[in-house]
């Protein structure tokens, strides 16, 4: 059979349609496409893709099962190592992980591993109603702080081994960044809820509205009888640029803007949650979060949305696919451009003018790339005299987050680095006995899958430590 050089295309909603709705952009492979795509796999001996996956999913095996039409078998294969296949199939940056290692990819496009994973998970969710059996309890209790990707993975792995696991979540819904951060059109919330439900079926308990560090401390968790604690509390605090005007009405952190829309459902007409929508919107930053915020603003009804990023297209840290989707939908990219001030309305005649204090624009300066910095990236340098004003009503700052200090400040002996990230060893163990950590709380803002990898590593280490007692 001749090799098909390209991946089978992912069916998607047409850009002009999806730009105005919150339904999922990618529609997923059909069974026929999935089988054909699976047949592109060369089944090479050295299986480099597996090492490209932070949780080492047995990729060639599940692809071979799809090729044979054994979709549930493929699901079971993935399930052995990954707790969240429907999530990973959607949000993992496969192009820099498993797919970047694919042997087929040396000469052609790699196998669409992510699209196949998503197909398998969706097929399972649509066709299999049996829930997993709760394993027999081993009598040991573990507490997990935070229900994002690292916490859910750690919880799932331990529950499968028979641990009694409780996940504490500060917000009212489990899922962490998967529910407050990543928008519906990229990751439908019903999918996250399903993954949480399957963990519940494994016996995991979820306690929402409990803020560890406030409602309960880590020390109290040990007093309550937990033998180990995994901290996956995420990267909480949003960064701002510290330029003038960031307190004007209409300036949001990406966290706030996305949380209002995703978690608080401001995108729905029947929501009680207010959000600034419509008009002209600038999103500052170039990562996946910036793309999510820009595309959310567009769907909320913006006339024009700009991505403002100080480097060039090549340096954009967002996934290529997300950038392409954003471009197709009509997001305008103001590249090599940096904000210097946010401008607000002020009527000097009337201090009670209701328009006072609302954003009217953003002053920016053009940049060019200069010498590489210590990290090897070319440093953006201002072009003198290139200042200009962008007319916008809303500005969303998507320039990263810093770890939340709530746990550190109430846990004696828990060491953090200069940036506030919790310090761990290769097993995810912190400076406190029995306390493990992983995900953005350790690394600062990173990816869903790397957080899952950290949750997995910690689960194995917790199991080893408790069983070795």
């Amino acid at each position: 059979m001749p090799i098909i050089p390209k991946k089978h295309e992912m069916p998607t909603q047409a850009p002009e349609v999806r730009a105005r709705n919150f339904d999922e952009v990618a529609l997923g492979y059909t069974a026929e496409i999935a089988v054909e795509e699976a047949q592109r796999c060369l089944n090479c001996k050295n299986r480099p893709c597996v090492s490209g996956c932070p949780v080492n999913v047995n990729i060639p095996d599940f692809i071979a099962q799809i090729a044979k039409g054994d979709f549930e078998g493929a699901y079971q294969t993935i399930q052995q190592t990954s707790s969240l296949p429907a999530v990973c199939g959607r949000v993992c940056p496969q192009e820099t992980q498993c797919e970047s290692k694919c042997t087929l990819g040396v000469k052609f496009e790699p196998v669409g591993i992510g699209r196949l994973e998503r197909f398998v998970a969706d097929w399972h969710n649509a066709n299999i109603t049996e829930v997993p059996q709760k394993p027999e309890s081993n009598g040991h209790r573990v507490a997990i702080v935070g229900s994002g990707p690292s916490g859910l993975t750690c919880a799932g792995d331990l529950a499968k081994k028979g641990y009694e696991v409780t996940v504490y979540e500060a917000l009212h819904t489990a899922g962490g960044v998967l529910v407050y951060g990543i928008p519906e059109f990229r990751l439908p919330k019903t999918i996250v809820a399903k993954e949480v439900d399957s963990l519940k079926a494994l016996g995991v308990t979820f306690e929402t509205n409990v803020i560890i560090g406030k409602t309960l401390t880590i020390d109290e968790l040990f007093e309550m009888g937990y033998e180990a604690v995994f901290v996956g509390s995420g990267a909480g605090l949003p960064n701002f640029m510290n330029i003038p005007g960031e307190s004007f009405k209409g300036v949001y952190s990406a966290n706030e803007f996305l949380t209002r829309s995703n978690l608080m459902k401001a995108y729905r007409d029947d929501s009680d949650t207010p959000i600034m929508k419509g008009g002209y919107v600038a999103v500052v930053g170039g990562g996946n979060v910036a793309m999510d915020a820009a595309r959310t603003a567009l769907r909320l009804g913006a006339e024009q949305v700009y991505i403002v990023y100080r480097r060039s297209l090549e340096e954009l840290p967002a996934r290529r696919e997300e950038v392409e989707h954003a471009e197709e939908e009509g997001i305008e990219f103001e590249l090599l451009c940096a904000p210097t001030e946010i401008l607000g309305f002020n009527n000097p005649e009337d201090p009670r003018d209701p328009r006072n204090g609302f954003v009217t624009g953003m002053r920016c300066v053009r940049m060019e790339l200069g010498e590489p910095d210590a990290g090897g990236r070319r440093r953006p340098v201002e072009i003198p005299g290139s200042e200009f004003e962008l007319h916008v009503d809303t500005v969303v700052m998507a320039i990263g987050t810093s770890p939340n200090p709530l746990i550190k400040s109430t846990t004696e002996g828990l060491e953090v680095n200069r940036k506030g990230g919790i310090i761990v060893n290769e097993d995810g163990l912190t400076s406190r006995e029995g306390v493990y950590a992983g995900g953005d709380a350790v690394t600062g803002a990173a990816t869903v899958i790397s957080a899952m990898g950290a949750g997995k590593t910690a689960a194995a280490a917790i199991d080893k430590a408790i069983m070795g007692k």
Binding site: P238, F240, N404, L406
Partner: protein, 283 residues
Amino acid sequence: MYKIVRKKSLNPTVTQMEIEAPLVAAKAKPGQFIILRVDEDGERIPLTVAGVNPEDGTVKIIFQIVGATTEKLNHKEQGEFIQDFAGPLGKATETEGIRKVCIVGGGVGCAIAMPVAQEFHRLGAEVTSIIGFRSKDLLILEEEFSECSDRLVVMTDDGSYGRHGNVTVPLKEMLDAGETFDMIITIGPLIMMKFVTLAAKPYGVPVTVSMNPIMIDGTGMCGGCRITLVKEDGTRETKFACVDGPDFNGYEIDFDEAMSRGRMYTGFERRAHEATCNLFGKA
């Protein structure tokens, strides 16, 4: 779900509820707040803790009916449940080293000021309380304040009860008469807190204000509650009221900015409030 154990109307627009939330009740200190959601898909709103009863695991909240969410909350009856109740959040009011304190509360802010006054009283400090309301109908918690205050002054804007005028009048009189306080703690509308701060400034008495900005998560994640502190040398510093506050040094707060930010969704709230009222009207 969290049970409303007791409900009481304090005046036509202010309601007190005691909510069963044992974990919060075990921890909450005066000055801290909680975040609640009335129902599924409801808004998250912050409310300051007005008291706790660790024995029966209840937390007291007092709220003014100002928007769709507080309207919905007020329609919940004793014995019914609210969806979410999380806390305690924020830092507790600093009490250390304060032997003589003046508590200045305005309107529904008195609900937050009351447990702070009670705490100082419990710690043996000398407590002066000045509480102000628009009129007699809106007066709340007078008895509670008189129990925990060595001296209580009640003010109404229209003179229908207590003394006529706003809360800065008796405060200035006391300071003019040479009285000193280790701390003035003021809780109420931003405009009132601004003027209390201005009134105290010439006398050099430290002022603590309790900020209540718009927020979502209450754990530092959204940054919506950010406020600007203006330091003595003029440098500006951004703080998050939810984790760095809610109490701040009154002399450093940029009140005008905080007032402007507080009005961000005024139009939206009015529409939502009207929609909710119509909804209840039809039901």
